[in-house]
């Protein structure tokens, strides 16, 4: 047994349950999803929209149940990555590790651009020119502010993230309610959706709806830094999908009543119905502020999860050991953060300058990111029964839930693959390419560190000082 935790350097017991929950919820960016996604799912799913959100909520709850089997048994810093290693071994573990990194990085990149895009839209109301230069500058600003908060301390960034997220959800809900009541009392007919053969695209709609939950497992990356991690992280992972399911079903119900339509212009900004009248500008501003807040919280949430996963990989040697350094005073993985943020800002900006459409960049990044998340979820569901069997604690429920969730996810992916539009295949190719690069890096590092396969999967394990043996009560321990 070691005398020091392999993930020493990060400060323990910093986050309360609310902040751990905030981490999970922020990484999902639910209010941005609430006002955009139902509008994207509806044309594909038609009347089944509500059903789609309920079914996916249950599926994600099953994934949460699987992740919770791990979070009640180990204090991780790299969430799903270390869970998969413990269940399926190093090679599938590395696949899950790079997958979540792609997931978190893609989400962080999209959110940075999302925050910058909505800020640009807000500032253009004040006369600031709405052009790529403004967006670029604002994206850099978002990155720098987020970096400063996250390096300064996990408690500070979590507190701000939680506040921002609560504001975002309240703003989005308020706008949806006002728009809904406005459209009902105004007596407008629901706008005619261009629904052609809705059920042919149901599989794709399901996959889209799944992507609106991804990130909820990220509480598993702050377990070392949470108070009573076995309890708080488990609760956050268990309850977030259900809570999000309620929010999304509510949002879908509001929107299917015809209050709001998603603008299909440069960015998916929700447009207010005409009936909202003079208040509609104010409502739009409130909602844009809310969505900006949600994207910003998502930058912090996703980057926090990303940096902890990279930090763990640095400690293992899967990436450079320097990435595994923690700040002496602030006790945050500052090298991982400083390495990640420039990429998180530069990639979407570069992509935007090439493609010219914010919407296209957002969708492209989120599609790649979703591939990463779903790949990792599939692996963690399969890892659950394997893990419990290995430690001799296997019971019937986790076998059933794990295998059923994995089977259902595979079915949805296959179904979606037949109904999907062609651009998604590009995202699949990008994901496959990145994953292959990840394995390439692993193979290279393995040559340098022969026992690398045994080192992967670090977590905050029990150290000699925690084990209650040869106890002498009359002694002060440091």
């Amino acid at each position: 047994m070691r005398s020091r935790s392999p993930v020493w350097g990060l400060r323990r017991a910093q986050l309360s349950f609310a902040q751990v929950l905030g981490q999970s919820v922020s990484a999902v960016a639910p209010s941005a999803v609430m006002v955009t996604l139902p509008a994207l799912v509806m044309p594909a799913a038609g009347r089944a929209t509500l059903g789609v959100f309920v079914v996916t909520a249950l599926l994600m709850t099953a994934v949460g149940y699987c992740a919770a089997q791990f979070s009640t048994r180990m204090v991780a810093v790299s969430g799903v990555y270390s869970y998969t290693v413990k269940g399926l071994g190093p090679i599938p573990g590395i696949a899950a590790g790079w997958s979540v990194i792609i997931g978190y990085a893609g989400a962080a990149m999209a959110s940075t651009l999302g925050a910058a895009g909505y800020l640009t839209a807000l500032l253009s109301r004040l006369g600031v020119p709405d052009n790529p230069v403004t967006t670029t500058l604002l994206a850099v600003l978002v990155g720098v502010v987020a970096l400063a908060l996250m390096v300064r301390g996990v408690r500070l960034s979590a507190r701000i993230m939680l506040t921002v997220e609560v504001f975002a959800i309240v703003a989005a809900s308020a706008v949806l309610i006002i728009a809904f009541t406005g459209s009902v009392t105004g007596g407008h007919d629901p706008p005619k959706m261009a629904v052609t053969e809705p059920h042919s695209a149901l599989g794709f709609a399901m996959l889209l709806a799944i992507t609106s939950y991804v990130g909820f497992e990220s509480a598993g990356t702050v377990a070392r830094e949470a108070q009573r991690p076995f309890v708080t992280v488990t609760r956050a992972i268990r309850w977030t999908p259900l809570a999000l399911g309620v929010l999304y079903t509510f949002a879908a119900a509001m929107q299917s009543a015809g209050g709001i339509t998603a603008g299909l212009g440069s960015i998916p900004i929700v447009r207010m119905p005409e009936s909202a009248g003079a208040g509609s500008t104010a409502l739009s501003i409130v909602m844009e502020l809310g969505i900006t807040a949600s994207w910003f919280a998502c930058v912090i949430g996703s980057t926090t999860a990303l940096s902890r996963t990279l930090f763990a990989m640095g400690r293992e040697g899967v990436v450079s050991h320097r990435i595994g350094h923690a700040h002496q005073v602030f006790r945050t993985p500052h090298i991982a953060l400083c390495a990640a943020i420039p990429l998180i800002v530069a990639v979407p900006i570069g992509y935007l300058l090439i493609s010219g459409s914010t919407r296209e960049v957002l969708i492209g990044l989120l599609a790649v990111s979703a591939h990463g998340y779903i790949g990792a979820y599939l692996l963690v569901c399969l890892a659950t029964p394997a893990f419990l069997r290995r430690i001799g604690e296997l019971t019937a429920t986790p076998v059933f839930v794990g295998l059923a969730a994995a089977a259902m996810m595979t079915a949805i992916i296959t179904w979606a693959a037949f109904t999907v539009e062609s651009p998604v295949w590009i995202a699949t190719a990008v994901y496959a390419g990145l994953l292959a690069t990840g394995f390439g890096v692993f193979a290279l590092r393995r040559r340098m560190i022969p026992d690398l396969a045994h080192r992967v999967g670090v977590f905050d394990e029990t150290v000699a000082g925690d084990v209650f043996a040869d106890y002498n009560p009359w002694e002060v321990r440091r």
């Binding site: 029990t462 084990v467 209650f468 009359w474």
Partner: protein, 250 residues
């Protein structure tokens, strides 16, 4: 949150009994026992046993070993055991204290330390210590023996609850001042208090260490507040006795 969190109200006696049985089984089996072995030993349904083990791990009464399959008693058990033990002082150590008491006109006391608290092991009957044991433990930052304990900890905040309450006008209630003083105590090797615990009292305390260097006890002298300078001059004498007591106590 499940309703069981705040409102147990003793209505699930079976669950509590089972949890304690599991705890006892882990204690008896020793380091590395697995969940399956415990379920078999107690003839308890395996799902129930696993759930109870996870609950006990969450609260720190037991820990999972790094292989994630073995269990052992955890740090929280120390709290129970520390509360149950009483200090006993061997005759040789008592003789040393008696010897010291003859040479000075101050109260001479011996304190033992558990990992988180101060325990009075031998108090001077003629000049009793300025406060009771429970007062000392609630105000570790206001007494000399408590400051020694805090100075020993890598993270003194574990033993303190903020804001620090003032017992007198001179009690240190600022965290930064306290942290600075603890650094000084670590450097000098003794701790003092003057009018911080009670207006009219002053103390000086010197650590007694085991041969391995860990803090096990303190010898302290107490007097009136205006005698603080005289008390401080006793530090070399106290250190001499502390060195003699070390091998006797640990």
């Amino acid at each position: 949150m499940s309703p069981a969190d705040g409102a147990l109200s003793g209505r699930q006696p079976k669950a509590v009994q089972s949890a304690l049985q599991v705890l006892e089984a882990v204690a008896l089996a020793g380091v590395g026992v697995t969940a399956k072995e415990i379920a078999e030993r107690l003839s308890m349904p395996s799902a129930t046993t696993y759930r109870l083990l996870n609950l006990l791990v969450a609260d720190g009464y037991i820990v999972r070993l790094p292989d994630l399959s073995g269990f052992s008693l955890g740090p929280r058990m120390g709290v129970l055991i520390d509360a149950a033990v009483t200090p006993t002082v061997c005759t040789a150590a008592r003789e040393q204290l008696a010897d010291l008491r003859l040479s000075v006109r101050f109260g001479v006391h011996l304190f033992y330390y558990t990992n988180t608290s101060v325990r009075i092991a031998d108090a001077d009957a003629e000049y009793p210590p300025p406060a009771e044991e429970s007062v000392l433990n609630h105000h570790l930052y206001a007494c000399a023996v408590g400051k020694l304990l805090l100075a020993e900890k890598r993270d003194p905040d574990e033993l303190l609850s903020y804001p620090l309450g003032a017992l007198t006008d001179r009690t240190m209630t600022s965290r930064s001042v306290l942290i600075a003083q603890l650094a000084e105590i670590r450097e000098r090797g003794f701790a003092t208090q003057t009018g911080e615990l009670r207006d009219d009292s002053a103390c000086v305390a010197v650590p007694v260490r085991s041969p391995a260097g860990s803090l096990v006890a303190a010898v302290a002298m107490s007097g009136r507040a205006e005698q603080s300078d005289l008390l401080r001059r006793q530090v070399p004498t106290l250190a001499e006795y502390a060195a003699k007591l070390g091998p006797l106590l640990a």
